[in-house]
Amino acid sequence: MSAALIHPILDLPTCVLVEDSDEDADTVAEALRRCGIPGRLQRVTNGDDCLTLLRGAGATQPPALVLMDLSTPGTDGRDALRQIKEDSKLKCIPVVITSASANPRDLEFCYTAGANAYHVKPVSHPHHLAEMTQVLQYWLGAVRRPAYRMPTA
């Protein structure tokens, strides 16, 4: 997992999706298609892979967004979030949590750990799709990112 996170030529903004559910990943992919912003989606299924990807050799530019499910196998989203936000090289990367859990403790934990937003995934597919579309439009399109390159390993 040492691929560059940014398309070398097109310089497209990249969204790293940490999601073990294929259905939810599919919904996010569809949302990306619908949102009207040309971007890349790089999916991993657990926190470890996410961290490896972000810290990976050859990563020269950070992703525009990490979209993270909380309960992934292995290193879960909470742990991965904490590690990203404690890592001086990674903590600028926006991390948006998506979770089925509305547990106030999860919310508190995530925001305290530095999450940039927290979304509860609705069961209703249209709602879910609409919400993910909005998220991607916002983070990939509306916001400005620092002109910043990740130090090469």
Binding site: S21, S99, S101, N103, P122, V123, S124, H125, H128
Partner: protein
Amino acid sequence: MTGDVSEARLPWEGQAYSAMRFGATITNCDSEPVQTPGCIQGHGALLVLRADNLTVAQVSDNSGALLGHPPETLLGQPVSRVLGEARAEELHAFLAREPVDRNPLYVLTHQGHNGAALDVTVHTIDGVVIVEFESTAHTTADGHDYFTLIKQSVHRLQSASSLQALGDAATAEIRALTGLDRVMVYKFHDDGHGEVVAESRRPDLSSWLGLHYPAQDIPEPAREVFRRTWIRPLREVGAPMSELVPLAHPDTGRPLTMTHCALRGPSVMYTEYLQNMGVTAGLTLSIRHGEQLWGLIAGHHYSGAFDLPYNMRAACELMAQIVSLQHKAAEDRDYLSHQLRFDEVRQLLVTQAANEGGLPAMVDGELTLLDALDAQGAALFHQERWWRVGQTPHDDELDTIADWLIERPEFASSAEPVFVTDALGTLMPCSPELSAVAAGLLALPLSKRGKNLIFWFRPEMLRSVEWGGNPHDKPMVPGPNGLRLTPRRSFELFSDSVRGHSLPWQQWEIELALRFRLVVMQLVISRAEQLTELNLNLARSNDDLDAFAYVASHDLKEPLRGMHKYAHQLADSAALADPLDAQRVEGLIRLTLRMDSLLDSLLHFSRVGRVALELEDVDLDELVHEALEMVVARRGEKPNEVIVAPQLPHMRADRVRLREVFVNLLSNAFKYNEKPTARIEIGWYPPHSVDRKPHWPQDVIQHPIFFVKDNGIGIEARHVEQVYKMFKRLHGRDEYGGGTGAGLTIVKKLLERHGGTVWFDSEPGVGSTFYISLGAQ
């Protein structure tokens, strides 16, 4: 003694006293010179000799009849005039040889007038020799071997294992030895009043065991005599007395001290007292702890004169001394076994409290505080209320006592934080009733601060013990010397002096109470620790439950979302040519959404019961309008008419949750409504402003009641119970806008968390009124 002697001149002041000439009254009996009565019992004769030459200085005026020499023929003469030369020599030698000072000893038997045999005993006091002559008829006739008898008695006394057993043995032995009708052990309490603690009596006599007698019944001079002598015999109550000639010693002018004389004339008080009780002869022995007079052994006879010859007296005296010696040891043993018993009770009480719900078990358990200490009432302040057992003051009086006590310095003592009184009424303002029930108070603080207290109460002793000499039916009879000591008179005086006083708390009882306090405090602390641990466990299991609920809903929703999505994709795809399939897929989508809301409700409900309420002052006007906005926005499509009563009150509640209650009720009111215009009324009843209907919960009208009234479909009576059941819907799941069926369950739970409740009146087709109460504020 309550009489003020100093105010009145004593009748005998300035002259030699004679019991025959001057009486005593109840007010001056403490001044009666009982040790120098100037008279002897008339059945014997007495000579007072000068110690140096044994010449007669004083003589009883019956010497002519008993000794054959009238007083005028003896005064100034040597004793040989009565005894003869040889016997006088014998007496002289005896005096030189034997320890007779204040110790009457038998010397010889004298042939008196008309040849009657007389026992002669002699002792010295204050430089004079007192020679007493008594008939020996009974001594020689009964032929008892007193030595053998007393040996057996002593053995029986020594084997007594307790104070009671010792008293029982002493009374039985002395009665057997003497043949008196009744022998009692009479114990002096700290305040001087007496109690019959052991008794042996002729079977036909009524028992006096357990009776208490006023202190005045045995005046101080009589007590003083018993500190000096072991025995006081009285052969016949009211028998003629014989006066000394002259009354005062001719050389010194002093009256004769007759403390140790067997023939000493009885005090006027004593005689009269015994006569009042029908006693015809008496024998009194003292029981002492060293110098201290612990009590008396009193013998009564009811059938005429009773001879107590010298050797019988000596035997009795020995018994009294043995009882006195044994007595201390027996009392110590009693104290020990008392302690052991109370220690055991204390242990049982604490165990009981530990096993059965804490301190309150000490007043309503099988064993109570009354078993731990000798008291008639006990109270405990714990968990913000009083727990009482036995005869105690009322709660508000207990509060008053507690408030007063907390300021007392006694409680500040770290070594002995205890407050003790046997007359509470003399220390704090008390109603007569209160000072009667709570005359005696022993109070222990259970904590440094606050009024966690244990009280023990003793009523005033006038109520708590049975008094002898309290025959209110007997009139007071003036004696020849004025109003005299009669049982009733003495009782009246006594009751004035002890009104508001309880039996005193003994030092060992106080020590016991302090030990009890330590154990109770340990219990309190260990229960507090248990409680902390329980709370920790509870918090932990609450956390676990919480986590479980979230994980469950999260994990259940994950696949649900997948199912829903596929159903959606199926519905979107053109592949479903068959309209029936399209319907089925629609159904699938609906079901997944319903499952989603059920999971949300379940999660919500699981939190409603556990999350801490945040109570604050809530303006119900504001809150109801917020709720309406939330609901009307949702239900805005339907024409409706909403009336809110003006000026709803402020209540103490959790704002968010109470709003949820109203949102639920209002949304139901809108939802279950088929009328063209939904009419909803929100109002309230102040406490006691509405009559409680039979099906309403108890006591709800004591607090404000809020209601939400609608003109909706109503609820059938048979569904009353089901309304509040989780996920129980009364209608088809898609009728009336669906819903999970958790709304009223949550409303009920939320109100119960506030200490309140929810109920309703309803008529199908007409409408429902839901009432809510937040309980006591």
